[in-house]
Subunit: 482 residues, 2 copies
């Protein structure tokens, strides 16, 4: 009977790679458990393999992450020496633990983040320690009855206040970690002070172990392949500018080309999405960058906040490009003859806009004032105006002005008369959309130009050396193609 | 001579509230230092006052933050009892420190975040402790010479591997804190094991103090005014939907109204910016929410990820509204007669779109399937089509079809003939922009509808009870105004 039932039951395991195995029924409960275990193991092995593959790709894509892991291992191994070497151990004893803990907690990927945590940790430990000892002394004066009450109330008050300070944005940005360490140290000192008489000795030992831990972290993070938050931010903004230029290029090319879409172009077009999503990364990097000492081309007081403004203006452009991108996939498209007529003008406007973005990217990368950005902006504006004029001059006859006699403008049939055919308004509709977005994008690129110029002023960029300005041609490929 | 010079020097301190004081020269260096100190103190006092004012506003705006601070103080005070009560102290000794430390580090604003840290901390401590003891035993077998080398290498390897795992997105989202605690505990155990013989005793004590700390945190965070990450996420998405509807309303009203802009409307219009910037908050809340047990209307396995998809579709709308918003401030505006003609249609389309958004917001808030969302979507689509038709029927005569004889569509002068006057293309240009954005916004609202319906399916929302569907009227105010 039981055998019959088990022969009707199938153990089917859906291994997540798409295949599903029918497991043959084995005899008895042991068999079933064994089969179930095998299935579980299979899934676990598959999941682990996927995580490992993922890890491999991450390591290959950015070897600095692997180096960071080695650095952490190295710092921990060095700090372990305190335990292994008897003379040092005798000096610090169990307090050497704080050095290990400091290294684990404080060591971060970027130099800025490590500095931020180190400085916060040292200052907060010192302040909280001093305050804790002070309150401990006061409590000692008030007798054994009052002492725990005073200590308890002070822990409650200071912990609450420090916790609240973490909600204030300006404090959170700079001293979030410090506030936590403050609470930690203060509670530990005022509470353990109840027992330990040698409080000063303890404080001294703990501070020196923390100092050892932090200085080790700072040394290791700065000496071996340092990753500077400032450089990363600089690089991110530069890359985002390039990506934005590429997406704009990709979108306009895609819209006006006649053949099907290519894989390559599609990937290029998606660049704006990175720009849309990089706000959080930019902000945290700018926060860390201001802790970094002078490095490479960046001073201690480099205007990192201005990078955030450039980032915001880039995102502003990206919003428009996102809308432009949705025009491409729109069902309603302008008739081919109209598109062909506009394609040249639009490609020109877009390639001049791209030129401006690329010039800005070069300005950022080289940290030199561009000598011909004004020319490029003027070209962009001119190209956009031409585009609008082309739209204006679409043949629309017999228009009657408003009754108030505002203007009796009659649109003149210009230029395109012979080659092109006029269309009813719905045919122009998708084109007007694209043109209006191009105009808007050009305006917003103007915003990026202003932000970059402000950065150049604040960071005192030098003028670029090369005397002969480059030929102000739009990207050749684009124009010659059409 | 010195007197003369000092009488020409003015000490001017720019107190940041806009006033600047001329300080009268006092006699000698002491006076100057005194004056300088007074200035510094003034600035510090001013800064502290500003931070305090800021803190006050934060506390008034969200009293739960104040409650959180009190909860932290409370938890710390309770855990301090371990020190003050002799019998407990004798049991745990110095290890009671770990309970204090756990409370400080683990206590977070939301229940989900506290759970995440608690579970991570306990599991990571246990795993790392077990592994550390195991490796310690192996090292002990290999003699005193090899032991430090084996321990050192194992610390290096495991610390590096755990650090690397923090770069893998799926691990980072769930086990970032656990990985750090793993490194910490493993290094401490394998390093201190070199000295301490009673390793098992120590491990047991430490685990039990951590268990005490974490369970205290979980109790306090859940019993006193709990802040659930899931509820917060739910509320945020609901609010963002409302804000989006308000901005759309504000933008369209602003565009078509004849008087100057009002303060109130301006504020309303800016709501979409919150939507644009809430990605990071949504993601972290969704991450924490999945650690939360069943609470209120949310099960343990509530589809929190779907909220992220709704958030993304809302942002998609917000991009368009951002572009629409820039149309308002654009210099080129359509002539008043045209705008007046379109105002009604546009307001209608926008108010039907807003209706859909508001209905979705209600669906989310009540967690009940809407009975008339389909009708509202149909109305929205119809209103948008009407708007496009109105644009189509703008009088454009004498259009000649393309030579290929594609379609000899002649735009018919319909409806508006008598009341309105035709305009050249440039006059229609800004309107076409607005209309095309309205069409795009309606399409994207369709995306939000799909995402919400998917959520309703996944979370098994019940159908709303009220049998009689509400009157499907657009927001009255909007239509009657114009």
């Amino acid at each position: 009977m039981a055998n019959k039932a088990s022969s009707r039951l199938e153990w089917r395991i859906n291994v997540p790679d798409g295949t599903s195995k029918v497991l043959e029924p084995e005899s008895g409960a042991v068999g079933k458990i064994w089969v179930g275990l095998k299935g579980c193991m299979g899934i676990i092995v598959w999941k682990v393999r996927r995580v490992l593959e993922n890890a491999w790709h991450i390591g290959v894509a950015d070897p600095r992450k692997v180096i960071h892991c080695i650095k952490v291992g190295l710092a921990l191994s060095i700090v372990s020496l305190f335990y292994y070497m008897r003379p040092l151990y005798d000096d610090f004893g169990g307090n050497a633990m704080w050095a290990v803990m400091t290294v684990v907690v404080v060591f971060e990927y970027t130099v800025g983040a490590t500095f931020y945590k180190c400085i916060n940790r040292v200052i907060a430990t010192f302040l909280a320690g001093a305050l804790g000892v002070g309150i401990h002394l006061v409590a000692e004066q008030s007798g054994d009855q009052l002492k725990p009450i005073i200590l308890g109330i002070s822990v409650f008050l200071f912990a609450s206040a420090a916790t609240f300070s973490r909600f204030i944005p300006s404090v959170k940005a700079r001293f979030d970690y410090g506030a936590m360490i403050f609470i930690l140290t203060f509670s530990l000192v005022s509470v353990s002070g109840y027992r330990v008489v040698e409080l000063f000795e303890l404080a001294h030992l703990r501070l020196s172990t923390i100092a050892i831990g932090t200085s080790l972290c700072i040394l290791v993070t700065m000496l071996f392949c340092p990753v500077w938050a400032g450089c990363e931010l600089h690089h991110l903004i530069h890359q985002n500018m390039e990506k934005l230029a590429d997406s704009l290029d990709g979108c306009v090319t895609e819209y006006f080309k006649e053949n099907g879409s290519e894989e390559d172009l599609n990937k290029k077009m998606q660049g704006y999405k990175c720009v849309l999503n990089s706000k959080a990364a930019e902000e945290s990097m700018a926060n860390f960058a201001r802790w970094e000492p002078t490095h490479g081309r960046f001073n201690f007081r480099h205007p990192w906040k201005q990078y955030l403004k450039i980032g915001a203006s880039l995102r502003n452009c990206a919003y428009c490009i996102e809308t432009l991108n949705s025009c491409i996939s729109s069902e309603i498209q302008a008739p081919p003859c109209l598109r062909k007529h506009f394609s040249n003008k639009c490609m020109k406007a877009s390639s001049y806009s791209i030129n401006v973005l690329k010039e800005l990217a070069i300005t950022i990368m080289k940290m030199k004032k561009s000598s011909n950005i004004d020319v490029k902006v003027a070209e962009m504006n001119f190209a956009v105006e031409e585009l609008v004029d082309a739209l204006k001059s679409l043949p629309t006859t017999h228009f009657i002005a408003t009754t108030t006699g505002e203007e009796s403008t009659k649109a003149k049939v210009e230029g395109v008369e012979g080659s092109e055919h006029p269309s009813p308004i719905m045919k122009v509709f998708p084109l007007v959309k694209v043109v209006s977005l191009m105009v808007e994008i050009a305006t917003r690129i103007g915003g990026v130009v202003n932000a970059v110029e402000e950065l150049a002023r604040l960071a005192e960029f030098k003028a670029a050396k090369d005397g002969k300005p480059k030929q102000n041609q739009p990207t050749d490929k684009l124009v010659s193609d059409h």
